[in-house]
Each structure stands twice: as structure tokens, then as C-alpha cells.
């Protein structure tokens, strides 16, 4: 909210500069976002007389002017075509500042300069350069009769102010007006608050001029109407226009300007009806149980849902209550009599309507936050008073006040002990009362231990003891609260296993030479569909756009997108990992029924492993680079002995612990890569961290084993098998048959060719046997080999190669 420094000074004798005021406001919780100067007093701009105009020797467009400034004569270079001898012109003398914004945000200050070799001391100004209008066609020519050297500020009605833009937090409806901000400053700075003097009318429930009825007292607690008759609608006087313009409000006419003025002064949104347009001379506040179409002041026809609160006259709606008036009843140039509406609408109801209509007005903003329910009559009187002042007419004696729902002020007790316990202070009750002085909280009872306050109705945020403690804290200034006597704490609690695992995973991936990426977890449905099951997707009901509608079912899309992004920027290869949450529909759910939210880790390699160099040609990653990486990952996590893998098809390897699948390694298809617009060889493994955590909690921690004292016995078996037999299948059999003495198994040769027959391939395994108690010899290993070979022959039609 824009707050005028000048306006604040009408309520308090502010001893602070605008900057100091802003600093103080921020420190008491009214956070200042910006300070801006408004207008200009044009100090140093005076009337000059052009004595001579001659051509500039070095520039066609410039002219040299001799100007009489009264006390001195000076030379000024001028670019305007209309400058002529004998003119009286506004001259910005050296050192003066004009309301012209420079690129860095500062204002233009006139300096002595040389323009194309000619001295220029000052500037002859155009209308817009002085902020006096918009004309920039030439210099401003002043009235001949003006005295030379007279300050411009004495000729024109100039207005200068500083505007402080405050971010009002939702809990401070009282601070949405100048009086409220001034009250807070007065309390913090211990100043007197001078409120405007407002006369009171005679309260009636109904009058001959207008009947007011509230049908829905839940949504409209109070409706005050006040008549001003015989007004003359015209432009507001400059004091009113200037004050509104300074805070960014466009002046409309004297009556509308007053209603706005009172809102920014006291915080009560007002509406002025053209009395003549009110049909049946009655006002009814009601909602409808059907949809209503209504054209608001901004000439938009709006569909309003059932339950929207309206101000109606005898025939139908004339305004959406608290949000915006209608076109038919607005004040026009011909308006004679005014009905001022000053009402209290329920914040929730206004909020709902404003949201539905996507229409936040200065009025709805205040009603939503909750205005003072006892302000309506005062604000109506204030507006009537000001309307009479600026538009003439007579104020009706009667103030029509329909007030079905009354809000009383309430009492709140503050305990000294709890205050000090929460703030870490040592205040006595006198000090607390002193700190809160100025907030208009009346002390109704007080002893050594507690104080009871009556809470004014303009502070609906002060509901509980703790709310009052906040007032004590903020007005005292949190920066002044002393440090506690005790030091910083120690904790005996260990970092939990889950966190340790997550750290270990990131550490390991980094050690394996992978770079971590952070990808979007809200992706397009079509992207999710590339690798997820459509029925299992979780969507946002109100996505930002269709590219971010669906929660990622896996981390694959993020990797593919990041890989594509880098390939498009000439990267030759990527080695990435990511850890993140993934979401899938699932009957049971993780935290909530129906939603499985897991943490996954993805490893991805794509493109070239190395760049083309003198040493070797560029080589693409292969699936075995990734397999090695995943194996190393399991080793680092201490899981290598517990995880089995098996191929589900030629492109996919699944990792299992017992019967539980924990993830897979796969080769994305050409089609999938095409969707991301790249062709580089790509390999991805994605594992469930959630599953890994479960496994780690149930497998025994590995313990130290002595380094073997005896050498291992190495034996090679080469077999010929049909093409369709996988190495994995054979190794499973070998492991099963070899028993515990088999320490390690690897494949050292694979080939196919004519020599072993079409449809066949040869695989050579190297087996390492180890006995921890003795040196093994061929006699002991041979029976094992026999068993293995027999099984291979039987299960895979393998033939032992010589």
C-alpha cells in the first residue's frame, strides 16, 4: 500500500525524515518495499528572459541564448525551435533538480556543461520536463508580465511528497489506511496521534429519503447511509487531487475522490450512489440463490454465482457488495443528490466473490482483511463533511444506521510470566503497558502479574494472549531483546539412517564421476506417458499449463530432457545422476491412500565417453559402462552380495532383493530418444532409494573378514551354447553348483563364428575358488567343475570346448 509521508504528518508530528520513517516502519512490522519521491518543488527553477538567440557554430539544431535571470545573466544552449528573443521562460539554474528520471533511477540535476564547444549554464525547460504537463513540443513560454527571477514554485501549484510503499501483512487490516499507519508510528515513537475532527449526525434506522434493509446479516453486519443533497459534480480542488495522485489514485470527480480519500484516510471503503438512480428509494442488501449477471463500473458483464452478496434497489442489483458498483447508479456530471454507503461486509464472503470474479479492488482488499466494524458511521460523516466542502450541498441531519450484527470490543489478559517466557525478556507490567501505549488498548485491570486490556474493534488480529505478546515484541524491537544466558545446544540424537543413506548415495554417485541434476517434478502428461502408465499418473487439478500438469512417475524424463538440452548445446556426452521424489497411483499409498510417493535415484550415461583425441577416437558409452557403475554403487552401499539381477528382455536388466524389485537398468528405445530429439547412445538405471533403505535395515551389516592366507585357485571353462542362452542364466547355474568355495566369476571371452557352427556362440568363464583354510588344488576343484559342466550340458545343451 502506498503511504504518503505528507499525509502521515497530518496525524503526527513526525520528527523523522522519509527514509528514517521507512526504516522505523519496517522495524515495527510494516515492511517498506520502496520509497519514491513524488512531484517536485522545482527549487532553483526561475523565470528568465531571453535576451538574444543566435545560431550554434557547431550544431545546426542547437541555438545559443543569452538569458537574464534577474540577478545575473547567463548563456544557455537550447535545442527547442520555439525559443525567441523577448520570451519569459522557465530556467532550471545550475544545481537544480528536475523530475526527469535517469537510467539509474535518480533525478536529473542541472550542471554547468559545454555543448559542442559552447558553455551552457542551465536549461530552458519544456512543460513535461518540469512535471507541469505532458507537452514536449518546445520550451514553455510564460506570461510576459512575470517578474524575472521569480521562483516557478510561486507561479504554479506544485506538490511534492515522498511515497512509502508498504507490504501490509494479512493480519494488519488496521494498517490499510494513513490513520492506522500513523497510529503504529505514534505508538512506536511515543507521539501524540491527532485524529480528524468528525461531527456526529442523528442516528435513525430509516428515513423519508431512503429505506435500508439487510436480508443477510451474516454477510452484511452493518449498513450506514448518509445523504448529501444539491452537490455540484466537478473536478476536485488541487489539494485533494494532489494527495490522491501522489498515492497513485486517479482523480475522477469531487464526490468519488472524497470517497476514495476517506478510504485511504480511515480505512473504510465507501460507495457514492447517484440518489436519483435508486429505484423505489430503497436499498436491500441480499444474496440470490441463482446466478446473476451484472455489469460493473468497468463495463464488464459478470456472471455471479449464487450466494454473491448484492446491493439492490427496489428493482434489482446496483452493486456487487464490497467489490464494485454498477454502471447505472454511478455518480455522473448531472448528479444532484448523493447517497453515501458505508458498510461492513463479512471478510469471507467478499474474499470468495473477489476470487470468483478475479477482481481485487481497493475496497475488496480492505473488506477481505476485516475493517473496523464500528467505523461505518464515522466514515460516512467524514465523507459527507468533505463532500460538502468540495462539492457544496447540504448534509442530511439523519444518519441511517442499520446494524443487525454488532461486534463488541473484547477483553484480553496478558500474563507477565508468559510474556517474558516467550520473549526471553524480564519486563514488569508497567513496562509492558508503556510499550503498548499508543495502540489505543485500554487497560481495564492491572496488577503485578497481569494486565487486562480492552481491545479496540479495529484490531481483529488481537484475539489471544500471544497476539498481544507479539505487539510487545515488535514495538520493543526484537533487535533489542538480550541474548539468553545459556549457550547454543548440543544434541545426543544421531542423524537418522534415511538421511545417512541419502548422503551416501549422493557421495557415491559423485565419486563415480556423475554430475547431479535437479529436474522438474511437474511435467507434461504426454512426457509422463512416454515412460509411465497412464492409469497410474498423478495430476495437478490446477496446473500452471499443460507442460507442468503431471507429477513425474519416474526420474527418466528429467534425465532425457537434460541430456537433450546439453546435446543441443554441443555437449558430446553426459554423466548425470538425480535423487528425487516420484509419484504413482497405488491402492495402498505411501503417506496417503492411492498415492505412492517414493524416492528414486537415477544414473544416466549418454553420448560419448571421451572426446576424439590423438590418444583414441571418441567412444560412445556402452551398457557395460553403466552396469559397472551400478555394480560399484551396490558395492559402496554394502549391498553387492544381496542384489540379484536378471534380464527381462534384451534391453532391460532388473535388480532384485529376494522377491522385491528395486529398480532396473535399461537402454531407452530409438523411439523414446526420438521424442527428445537426440540419437546418442543412452543408458539409464533407476533404483528405489525407499527400497534400498528397507533392504539395508534388514540385511546384517557386513563385518570384517581376514584377508585370505591361501591363494585362490583359478579355473577356466569355455563352452559353446546356442545363441539364445544368456551368460546370466549360465552364471546362475554355475554359482548354484559351485557352492561356497566359488569366490568370483567373470567372463573373459565371447565369440561367435563359423568355426563353432551357425546359431552358436562361445563363452569362456573364469572361476576363482578359495578355501580360507587351505590351498586348493586341482583334485579338490575338479569334482566341482564336473558338476558345473554337467549342469551346463544338461540345461543349455552346452558343449565344453577343448
Amino acid at each position: 500500500m502506498k503511504v504518503s509521508y505528507n499525509w502521515l504528518k497530518e496525524f503526527i508530528d513526525l520528527p523523522l525524515s522519509p527514509e528514517e520513517t521507512a526504516e522505523k516502519l519496517t522495524l515495527i512490522g510494516l515492511e517498506v518495499e520502496e520509497i519514491e519521491s513524488y512531484g517536485n518543488s522545482l527549487e532553483g527553477v526561475i523565470v528568465g528572459e531571453v535576451l538574444d538567440v543566435r545560431a550554434h557554430p557547431n550544431a545546426d539544431r542547437l541555438q545559443i541564448c543569452d538569458v537574464n535571470l534577474g540577478e545575473s545573466k547567463t548563456q544557455i544552449v537550447c535545442g527547442a525551435k520555439n525559443v525567441a528573443t523577448g520570451q519569459k521562460v522557465p530556467v532550471a539554474t545550475v544545481g537544480s533538480t528536475l523530475p526527469i528520471k535517469l537510467d539509474d533511477g535518480s533525478s536529473l540535476t542541472i550542471k554547468k556543461a559545454k555543448l559542442r564547444g559552447e558553455v551552457s549554464e542551465g536549461m530552458i525547460c519544456a512543460e513535461d520536463e518540469l512535471g507541469l504537463g505532458t507537452d514536449h513540443s518546445g520550451i514553455m513560454v510564460l506570461d510576459d508580465g512575470l517578474d524575472i527571477g521569480k521562483p516557478i514554485s510561486e507561479i504554479f501549484d506544485l506538490y511534492e511528497d515522498t511515497i512509502i510503499d508498504i507490504a501490509i501483512t494479512p493480519n494488519r487490516p488496521d494498517a490499510t489506511c494513513h490513520l492506522g499507519v500513523a497510529r503504529d508510528l505514534a505508538a512506536a515513537l511515543d507521539l501524540d496521534l491527532k485524529k480528524p475532527d468528525i461531527p456526529q449526525g442523528k442516528f435513525v434506522e430509516t428515513s423519508d429519503d431512503i429505506k435500508i434493509r439487510i436480508e443477510n446479516a451474516d454477510k452484511c453486519h452493518r449498513y450506514v447511509g448518509k445523504m448529501v443533497k444539491g452537490v455540484e459534480i466537478k473536478e476536485s480542488p488541487s489539494w485533494l487531487r494532489n494527495k490522491l495522485k501522489a498515492i497513485g489514485v486517479r482523480p475522477v470527480n469531487n464526490v468519488v475522490d472524497v470517497t476514495n480519500y476517506v478510504m485511504y484516510e480511515l480505512g473504510q471503503p465507501l460507495h457514492a450512489f447517484d440518489y436519483a438512480t435508486i429505484r423505489g428509494k430503497e436499498i436491500i442488501v441480499k444474496d440470490f440463490d441463482k446466478e446473476i449477471e451484472f455489469e460493473t463500473l468497468d463495463h464488464i458483464k459478470r456472471k455471479c454465482t449464487p450466494g454473491t452478496l448484492f446491493i439492490c434497489d427496489g428493482e434489482g442489483p446496483v452493486a456487487i457488495a464490497g467489490v464494485m458498483g454498477g454502471v447505472d447508479s454511478e455518480v455522473s456530471d448531472n448528479t444532484m443528490d448523493i447517497l453515501i454507503e458505508s458498510a461492513y461486509f463479512d471478510p469471507g464472503s467478499i474474499r470468495k466473490t473477489a476470487k470468483e470474479q478475479a477482481l481485487q479492488t481497493d475496497a475488496s482488499y480492505r473488506f477481505e482483511r476485516g475493517i473496523d466494524p464500528n467505523l461505518q458511521a464515522i466514515a460516512a460523516e467524514r465523507a459527507a463533511q468533505l463532500i460538502m466542502e468540495v462539492a457544496g450541498g447540504t448534509i442530511s441531519d439523519e444518519t441511517i444506521d442499520v446494524h443487525p450484527t454488532v461486534t463488541e470490543s473484547h477483553q484480553l489478559t496478558l500474563r507477565k510470566s508468559y510474556t517474558n517466557r516467550l520473549l526471553g525478556t524480564d519486563f514488569d507490567t508497567d513496562t509492558i503497558v508503556e510499550i503498548l501505549d499508543g495502540l489505543e488498548l485500554e487497560v481495564t485491570a492491572k496488577d503485578e502479574d497481569s494486565i487486562t486490556f480492552e481491545i479496540p474493534t479495529f484490531r481483529p488480529d488481537l484475539e489471544r494472549e500471544v497476539d498481544l505478546i507479539e505487539e510487545v515484541g515488535r514495538l520493543f524491537d526484537y533487535n533489542k531483546i538480550p541474548s539468553p544466558d545459556h549457550g547454543i545446544f548440543v544434541s545426543s540424537e544421531a542423524i537418522n539412517d534415511w538421511e545417512k543413506l541419502n548422503q551416501k548415495i549422493r557421495e557415491t554417485a559423485q565419486q563415480l564421476g556423475l554430475r547431479e541434476i535437479y529436474s522438474n517434478s511437474l511435467i507434461a502428461e504426454k512426457d509422463a506417458a512416454l515412460h509411465g502408465n497412464k492409469d497410474q499418473m498423478i495430476h495437478s487439478l490446477n496446473p500452471l499449463n499443460k507442460d507442468n500438469s503431471t507429477l513425474r512417475p519416474s526420474l527418466l524424463h528429467g534425465f532425457m530432457k537434460s541430456a537433450a538440452y546439453n546435446f543441443n548445446r554441443k555437449a558430446s556426452g553426459v554423466r548425470f545422476f538425480e535423487v528425487g521424489h516420484v509419484f504413482n497411483a497405488d491402492k495402498e499409498g505411501t503417506y496417503y491412500e492411492g498415492i505412492k510417493e517414493d524416492v528414486h535415484v537415477l544414473f544416466g550415461l549418454a553420448g560419448f565417453k571421451n572426446k576424439d583425441s590423438w590418444l583414441q577416437d571418441a567412444q560412445s558409452y556402452t551398457v557395460f559402462d553403466l552396469k559397472a557403475l551400478v555394480n560399484a554403487f551396490f558395492v559402496k552401499l554394502g549391498l553387492a552380495d544381496h542384489i540379484d539381477s536378471h534380464a527381462t528382455d534384451a534391453e532391460t536388466l532388473e535388480y532384485h532383493w529376494k522377491d522385491q524389485k528395486i529398480g532396473s537398468l535399461f537402454i531407452p528405445s530409438e523411439k523414446l530418444k526420438k521424442a527428445y530429439d537426440f540419437e546418442q547412445d543412452t543408458f539409464v538405471a533407476e533404483l528405489s532409494v525407499t527400497a534400498i533403505a528397507e533392504i539395508l535395515s534388514s540385511v546384517p551389516e557386513s563385518t570384517f573378514k581376514a584377508v585370505p592366507k591361501f591363494p585362490s585357485f583359478e579355473f577356466d571353462i569355455a563352452v559353446t551354447v546356442p545363441q539364445n542362452i544368456t551368460a546370466g542364466e549360465m552364471m546362475n547355474v554355475i554359482k548354484q553348483k559351485a557352492g561356497e568355495q566359488l569366490e568370483d566369476i567373470s567372463i573373459f571371452d565371447v565369440f561367435e563364428g563359423e568355426s563353432i557352427g551357425k546359431g552358436n556362440k562361445s563363452i569362456a568363464f573364469r572361476l576363482h575358488f578359495l578355501d580360507r583354510n587351505k590351498t586348493l588344488n586341482i583334485k579338490e576343484v575338479e569334482p566341482i567343475i564336473q558338476r558345473i559342466v554337467k549342469s551346463l550340458e544338461k540345461q543349455f545343451s552346452a558343449k565344453l570346448r577343448g
Binding site: G348, R474, S491, L544, G558, A571, L615
Partner: protein, 335 residues
């Protein structure tokens, strides 16, 4: 005899060997069958018995000298020859690059924060990114239809008119983990809760619809604003240096009362400005009630801050979207 040996040693030392020919000449003169070393040994017979031990020792020394010089000269000549290197033996050729792993800058910033919190005696907890209305809003003292809910534009996952079925949302802050922690743990509680959060906001260099927060919670019998302040200041000093200039000012969050925000001075004395780094406050009694903690017995503080915000400040990054592009040229600046 000893004098002759001395002369021989001098000759050996002074013999200049700079190429193969000289090496051969040296060999012939000193080490060949008829060379001077062999000849020297042949004179042993003429040495009186009582001097033999001494002379023999000197002779062996001379022989060693001759042989060592020969071997050294030979090696050094060979080495000189090997300077005729092949093109590929050029040590100045560029090597292949080593694949370096790295943690994302946001992880790095988060890890730094975590390590500070661990030093301050905090432990760590986490929770889901999809939360129900209760944990994300109601329990945190955002009443239904409260304007404070508007400040956190929310992505909904499930909405229901049935009051018995909770709306599900993408959490708008990490604060719901506070509720989970208090529901499941008896105070004292002192933990941080990092994680990803979502806001339905238009994407711009300054804002993204998802970002990361770290939440801190401390609940015990006598926790005060003074404790909060001390913790905040210690954190700021450890994060930004002990000379950091800071200020505390009142703020507003539905789940804390009183609420405070902390600004640090960023930039030079003259051209810098206050930048908000975190929001905090004393846990609102309503939050305690919702989470099943007695607000008369316990007090506590909570605070939260954005990981992106801190990372942006530290590294001078001008566009928040950069974090999610995963451009290698960006990532490799954070090795």
C-alpha cells in the same frame, strides 16, 4: 705404489666422456684386459707384504671409481639418445579429460546449511511432497478461506466436497513436516526439515513453481524469542561470515506468533541493501494444539528459508531457472 694409484684415479676423473667414441676410448684405456686398472692389479706382486692390505684397498677403490664412471657415462649417453622421442612421447600433449562428479549447487548450499545446523545441535527429518490440507494448512493455523492461503498459490492434487475426505495438495512449504514431527515425537524436538515445495506461480527469472526450503523447529519447555534470535544470529554468522550485518523485524506467518524475519546487508556499505533471508517465529499455540502438544507446557520456535535464495545470493546467479536446466557448463562451475 699408492702415488701411482692416486695418479690413475685423477686420470679417471679427468677423462672426458661426451659421446660413444670417448666412452669406448675410456673403456679401452682403463677397463679393457690390458687397460690401466688390470695393469695396476698385475703390480700387486711387487708390493711388500705389510703394505698389501692398504694398497689392495686403494686398488679396489680405483677400480670401483673406473667402473662407476663408465656405467654412469653409459647410462647418461643412453638417456641422451632417448631424447630422440617419438611424436606421441611428448609429455605436453593434452590428456583425455577425467570424468568429474559433482553435487548440484542447490545440494551444495543445502549441505552447507545442514552442517551448520548439525553444529547447532539440530537433527533432521523429512516428509512427503504431496500433503493433505490438514498438514499443509489447517494444522499450521491457516483457517479455511483465510486470506493467508492466497499468499501461497497452491497446486491441488485432489479436491473433495466431502468434509471427511481431505484435499490433497503439493506442499507449499516444508512446515507440514513440523506437524508430522510433533505428532510423532515428544518434546524436546530440535530438527531441520529440508525439501522441495511448490507454488502455483508464473515462471520468471525470480520465481519458479517449485523450489527448496529448509525448515527448523525447536520445541522445549522454555524456548523464547531470545533463543530464536541467538540461533538465527549464529546461523547467519556461520553462513555468511562473522562480520555479517543483520537485522530482525516483525513479520507475519499464520503458524508463528510472534513472527520475525531476518535481513542481512548485502553488498558494500554504500551501495548494498537489506535482503530478506528467512522467516521465523514462535510456534503459534494453535499449531501446538493441532499437533497434540500442550502450549501451556511447551514453547518453541520455527524458521524457514529458501535454498535457491541463499544459493542465488552466494553465487550471484541471476535467473532461478538456471538451476533446473542442468547445463553442464553451469554444473561444472560447482565442482
Amino acid at each position: 705404489m699408492l702415488d701411482d694409484i692416486k695418479v690413475l684415479e685423477q686420470d679417471i676423473q679427468q677423462f672426458e666422456i661426451t659421446d660413444e667414441d670417448q666412452l669406448e676410448a675410456y673403456r679401452l684405456e682403463f677397463l679393457s684386459r690390458n687397460g690401466r686398472v688390470q695393469s695396476m692389479f698385475k703390480n700387486m706382486g711387487k708390493v711388500p707384504k705389510e703394505e698389501r692390505a692398504e694398497v689392495g684397498k686403494a686398488m679396489n677403490q680405483a677400480k670401483n671409481l673406473a667402473e662407476t664412471k663408465f656405467e654412469d657415462a653409459k647410462l647418461s649417453l643412453e638417456q641422451d639418445q632417448s631424447k630422440d622421442l617419438s611424436a606421441r612421447d611428448d609429455i605436453t600433449l593434452t590428456p583425455p579429460s577425467y570424468p568429474l562428479g559433482s553435487l548440484h549447487p542447490l545440494t551444495q548450499t543445502l549441505e552447507e546449511m545442514k552442517s551448520i545446523f548439525y553444529r547447532l545441535g539440530f537433527t533432521i527429518a523429512d516428509g512427503p511432497e504431496i500433503e493433505d490440507d490438514f498438514h499443509n494448512f489447517t494444522a499450521l493455523n491457516f483457517p479455511p478461506n483465510h486470506p493467508a492461503r492466497d499468499e501461497q498459490d497452491t497446486f491441488f492434487i485432489r479436491k473433495s466436497d466431502d468434509p471427511n475426505i481431505q484435499d490433497l495438495v503439493l506442499r507449499t512449504h516444508t512446515s507440514p513436516v513440523q506437524i508430522r514431527l510433533m505428532e510423532n515425537t515428544k518434546p524436546p524436538i530440535r530438527a531441520i526439515m529440508p525439501g522441495r515445495v511448490y507454488r502455483n506461480e508464473a515462471v520468471s527469472p525470480k520465481s519458479y513453481f517449485l523450489f527448496h526450503q529448509v525448515e527448523a523447529l525447536y520445541v522445549d519447555e522454555n524456548v523464547s524469542v531470545a533463543d530464536l534470535k541467538e540461533t538465527l544470529i549464529t546461523f547467519a554468522k556461520l553462513m555468511f561470515g562473522s562480520d555479517v550485518k543483520y537485522r530482525l523485524r516483525p513479520g507475519f506467518f499464520p503458524f508463528t506468533e510472534p513472527s520475525l524475519e531476518m535481513d542481512v546487508w548485502w553488498g558494500s556499505e554504500k551501495d548494498g541493501k537489506w535482503l530478506e533471508i528467512l522467516g521465523s517465529g514462535m510456534v503459534d499455540p494453535n499449531v501446538f494444539k493441532h499437533a497434540g502438544v500442550d502450549p501451556e507446557k511447551y514453547t518453541g520456535f520455527a524458521w524457514g528459508m529458501g535454498v535457491e535464495r541463499i544459493a542465488i545470493l552466494r553465487h550471484g546467479i541471476d535467473d532461478i531457472r538456471t538451476f533446473y536446466d542442468n547445463d553442464i557448463r553451469f554444473l561444472e562451475q560447482f565442482n
